[in-house]
């Protein structure tokens, strides 16, 4: 005898009634409230395992050829014929779904005096007739039902096809469109919940694709709701935070930047961190209603871009001027002589100093702090020392590459610094506010709130 049969104290058997009897007898000795409950935990595990084996008819293979059918006929709760068992359960749950949908429909019809009398008829639910009567169960219902049954355990017969077909986006996107088109329903979190099931039924790649399609539609919707009249139809923070939690937009913010312009994604940065669902779970109803809806960020335009450009230049100057004083002016005043390659030295020192200060403080150098901007990693978290130094190094590498390129191309002995600065500024304007070192090190420079 081995586990689980030694714990139960019986020989291996497919008879579930016998297993239950043995379990009940043992349980009277090791009750769940005795001691620390570990004896009970072991007993219960053994019992569950034994019942599972018996249900598959795998517990006692030497019972004889007839064991799977006739011998277990006297075990009332479940037959060992796994296939019919599975089918039965699927059918019953499908019937539950169909029945309750029907009930809802009945309930929704106000005037149905005779449709639902006070007594339910004791009818036997039959999957075929129910499905025939009320239409097939929803696709998501079908897949959900199949989750709890391990189909590989079925001893024979063809497996039930459960994988959703790949135009699986049609339903969630249809739901989404329907909600976005409504004027009231889109504000109620409960109406969005079905999306959760759709997402759960998809594979990882499909989830990603769906989340981007949803984002595209949400952005288009928010855009169409600009202005005073659209204000009431614009999605609030409550729904957006919930959708973000489901779709993982902020988690993949940096990847989204490749395919979406930054100003369209700006609203993600403005979303609050917590979710009203959590308030609701703490027992206060209407937690969601108390939630402040953030005003949408003003549109991204060239004036703002200019402002952020000036900020970055200001930050650069604030950082570099004291260094220039220390490295160039001071030696000149003392020794009447500049160090060799003064500009390269100055720039190298700038790179090292800002890299180290940003790494140490986790977000900003002195200049950036003074100008009210900070550096964040791709998940909008603090940057660590490693990332900060990599950012600094990538800046230095960019500059070095430009120096090599310009001197090869134009043959400048002492290249003009404009040829270095200009490409940076062009990059800034065409990527909507991101310099080459931001792109290479995958960091973001954002305003402090």
């Amino acid at each position: 005898m081995s586990f689980p049969w030694d714990v139960l104290g019986i020989d291996a058997t497919n008879d579930q009634r016998a297993i239950k009897r043995a379990y009940a007898a043992r349980l009277k000795v090791s009750r769940p409230d005795d001691g620390d409950g570990s004896a009970f935990q072991e007993l219960h595990e053994a019992y569950k395992f034994a019942v599972m084996l018996a249900r598959q008819g795998a517990a006692a293979p030497d019972d004889g050829p007839g064991h799977s059918g006739a011998q277990d006929g006297d075990a009332p709760p479940a037959s060992s014929d796994g296939q019919s068992h599975v089918a039965d359960q699927t059918a019953s749950l499908a019937a539950v779904n169909a029945a309750i949908t029907q009930d809802a429909r009945l309930a929704a019809m106000a005037g149905d005096a005779g449709a639902a009398p006070g007594q339910a008829e004791p009818m036997r639910l039959n999957a075929e007739t129910m499905i025939e009567a009320f239409g097939p169960p929803d696709r998501d219902d079908g897949t959900r039902v199949s989750w709890d049954i391990d189909l590989t355990l079925a001893p024979s017969g063809e497996p039930v096809p459960v994988t959703p077909e790949n135009p699986a986006f049609r339903e969630p996107l249809g739901l989404l469109d329907q909600l976005l088109a409504s004027s009231q329903n889109l504000h109620m979190l409960a109406n969005w919940q079905p999306l959760e099931r759709h997402m759960a039924a998809l594979g990882f790649d499909e989830q990603k694709q769906l989340s981007e399609r949803v984002l595209r539609r949400v952005i288009a919707h928010q855009k169409s709701c600009r202005g005073k009249n659209g204000r009431y139809r614009r999605l609030g923070a409550k729904v957006l935070v919930w959708l973000d939690g489901l779709m993982g937009w902020r988690t993949g913010y940096y990847d989204l930047l490749d395919r979406f312009p930054q100003d369209e994604l700006a609203f993600l940065l403005d979303l609050p961190d917590t979710n009203p669902v959590q308030h609701a779970n703490h027992g206060l109803r209407g937690g969601g209603a108390l939630f402040q809806v953030a005003e949408p960020r003003p549109e991204h335009n060239s004036v703002m871009q200019l402002a952020s450009w000036l900020r970055r230049i200001g930050a650069f100057l604030i950082d570099i001027v004291p260094l220039a004083f220390l490295l160039l002016l001071l030696p000149y005043m003392i020794w009447q002589e500049l160090p060799p390659r003064p500009m390269t030295l100055l720039f190298a020192c700038y790179v090292v100093v800002t890299g180290v200060t940003e790494g140490l403080t986790g977000n900003a150098s002195f200049g950036k702090r003074a100008m009210g901007i900070k550096v964040m990693d791709r998940y909008l978290g603090k940057i660590g020392m490693g990332l900060s130094l990599w950012r600094a190094a990538s800046l230095f590498l960019c500059m070095a590459a430009l120096e090599v390129a310009t001197s090869l191309w134009l043959g400048f002995e002492r290249p003009n610094y404009l040829t270095h600065v200009l490409p940076f500024q062009l990059c800034f304007w065409f990527t909507e506010g991101r310099l080459p070192q931001d792109l290479i090190s995958r960091t973001l420079v954002v305003e402090k709130n």
Partner: protein, 563 residues
């Protein structure tokens, strides 16, 4: 030492004691087995609990409070008579009243109790319930899940065999449990529920629909008028489906309304709530892995399951007529009492064993297992519907070089991200600074029969262990606050038992005065004035006679709609 079993409900509470191999439910000071969970203060600042307070909900809406169980486990403070209380303290007042009734009934002090809680109560709410018992001066020996208690009562009643589904819809909560009986073993396979679905929600839906139909602004009504409306609706709700159909005649904001509450109207008003019945049932069946065909019976528990619409919905779902041959209001108290007998190891219950499950998943916060390094992911340790007591251990590693601290955040819920689960508590562990992944801790979650969670953390390199019962959750009281609450409650005097009956009668009369019109109203007013005159004379024999007369008089008006 006697242990009493208590059903602390949203609308009604009850208690009982296991004696001589049977359940004895304890009548309260008015001789009823049910005590309404309503707390109030009279003019002298004395505490009133139960039926008297319930009558005063209409006449003294500012000094009376009901349905506070819904706020259990939150810091929310409820204003009563210019003082504010937490739901825990108000529940403690109800428990103390039940305790005094039990002491009067048994003739001995009671210091231990078993209290029932909705199966889907979370850890915070369970702690709050336990603390309420302690504030009331009782050691809470066990918290038992309400559907489990109900099943226990049914199980002892006729010892059936097979799988049963218990649907428990009380005043505020809806629970589903799948339970199997065999050879004296009661095994709970799965529990699920909705903490915000109960009779009160149906009532609320009716009132909302009524106000919407009549185009009345709810904000424009004062608390008293609203209470009268709620009261009338509650009476109508109980009489729906009878003939003649109940009518609600009421005067609101200067206009008289008289409507017939028909079944289609009611069905329409509560359609949205009925839809919410489905999800917990589905989840419980899925978790239990029991085919629908194997279910032997569906048992209905809780006062709200008396509603025909609910029975209809349940009948349609399961394809059979659900049974409810024990009083749905009292069955939970009976079950809690059986559990009290079990706990006391009463010899008549030797061959009964109960195994229960934990209704939700418990786990801790980890960084993204996929390797992005992002925190905030949920690692389940104890899966929902695993049998209790249970204990599981998981090894967690440091994620950064020279990491000095590891914080074990404990969460409850089913979501992949912790931010959408309920935070229960945290433990801070100091670990030696080494390379990432070289330091590890063993986190052990132990979930006991009461549904309370204990967390052990062991630092593997140093062998240091930290043990903690999760208690600092939001809404739970600290030891200081507990002591203060206990003092506050002790300072509040209960209304003296002998005068209680007079007060109850007067409050009933005042309520009837408000809800009736015309000649009836005048007659009730006269009767009350006469009774007050008798009370002023302070002659006991006279008071007793007048009391009986007034009671008979008032009951004529009160009994017409109630069953």
């Amino acid at each position: 030492m006697t242990i009493i079993g208590i059903d602390l409900g949203t609308t009604n509470s009850a208690c009982g004691v296991w004696r001589d191999g049977a359940v004895h439910l304890i009548p309260n000071r008015h001789g009823d087995k049910l005590t309404p969970s309503v707390v109030g203060f009279d003019a002298g600042g004395e505490l009133i609990v139960g039926k008297t307070a319930q009558n005063r909900l209409i006449t003294h809406p500012r000094d009376t409070v009901a349905t506070f169980k819904r706020l259990m486990g939150t810091k929310h403070r409820i204003e009563v008579s210019k003082t504010s209380f937490t739901a825990t303290e108000l529940s403690a007042a109800v428990l103390r009243s039940l305790k005094e009734d039990a002491e009067a009934f048994l003739g001995e002090p009671v210091s231990e109790a078993i209290i029932s809680v909705p199966a889907y109560f979370n850890d915070n709410q369970r702690h709050a319930t336990k603390q309420a018992g302690e504030i009331a001066g009782m050691k809470v020996q066990r918290l038992i899940n309400e559907p489990t208690a109900a099943a226990l009562a049914y199980g002892l009643h006729d010892k059936p065999e097979g799988v049963f589904v218990v649907l428990d819809m009380g005043g505020g909560t809806f629970d589903v449990s799948v339970i199997e009986y065999f050879d004296g073993v009661m095994e709970v396979h799965a529990s699920a529920g909705d903490n915000y679905l109960g009779g009160e929600d149906f009532l609320e839906a009716m009132v909302e629909r009524f106000l919407a139909d009549r185009k009345i602004e709810r904000a424009g009504l004062d608390k008293g008028a609203l209470q009268v409306l709620f009261d009338a609706m509650e009476r109508a709700k109980r009489a729906i489906g009878r003939s003649p159909a109940p009518r609600v005649a009421i005067e609101l904001a200067g206009t008289a309304h008289d409507v017939e509450i028909t079944e289609p109207w009611f069905r329409d008003a509560v359609a949205g709530l009925l839809l919410r019945v489905r999800a917990p049932i589905e989840q419980a069946l899925r978790d239990a892995r029991i085919p629908l065909a194997d279910i032997a019976d569906v048992l209905l528990v809780g006062g709200a399951t008396r509603m025909a619409v609910f029975r209809n919905a349940a009948g349609k779902l399961f394809g059979r007529i659900p049974s409810s041959y024990l009083d749905p209001d009292l069955v939970v108290a009976m079950g809690a009492t059986v559990q009290a007998g079990l706990k006391a190891r009463d010899s008549s219950l030797d061959d009964v064993v109960l195994t229960d499950v934990c209704p939700y998943t418990l786990g801790t916060e980890v960084v993204d297992p996929a390797g992005s390094g992002k925190p905030g992911f949920f690692l389940p340790l104890i899966e929902r519907n695993s049998v209790v007591p249970t204990s599981r251990v998981e090894r967690l590693f440091t994620v950064a070089d020279k990491q000095a601290r590891m914080q074990v955040n404990v969460f409850q819920g089913e979501n992949r991200m912790v931010e959408r689960n309920v935070f229960l508590g945290e433990i801070d562990v100091t670990v030696p600074k080494r390379k990432a992944g070289e330091e590890s801790i063993d986190v052990r979650f132990s979930y006991d029969m009461n549904g309370l969670l204990e967390v052990d953390v062991k630092v593997n390199s140093s062998g240091e262990t930290i043990n903690k019962v999760i208690q600092q959750a939001p809404g739970a009281l600290s030891d200081d606050e507990m002591a203060r609450s206990r003092q506050r409650l002790a300072a509040l005097k209960f209304h003296p038992r002998e005068r209680e009956e007079n007060l109850q009668l007067l409050s009933q009369g005042e309520r009837l005065y408000l809800t009736h019109l015309g000649d009836t109203r005048a007659a009730i007013g006269d009767a009350l004035a006469a009774f007050e005159a008798v009370l002023d004379r302070q002659r006991d024999s006279e008071i007793g006679r007048a009391r009986d007369e007034l009671k008979a008089f008032l009951d004529r008006f009160d009994g017409d709609l109630l069953p």
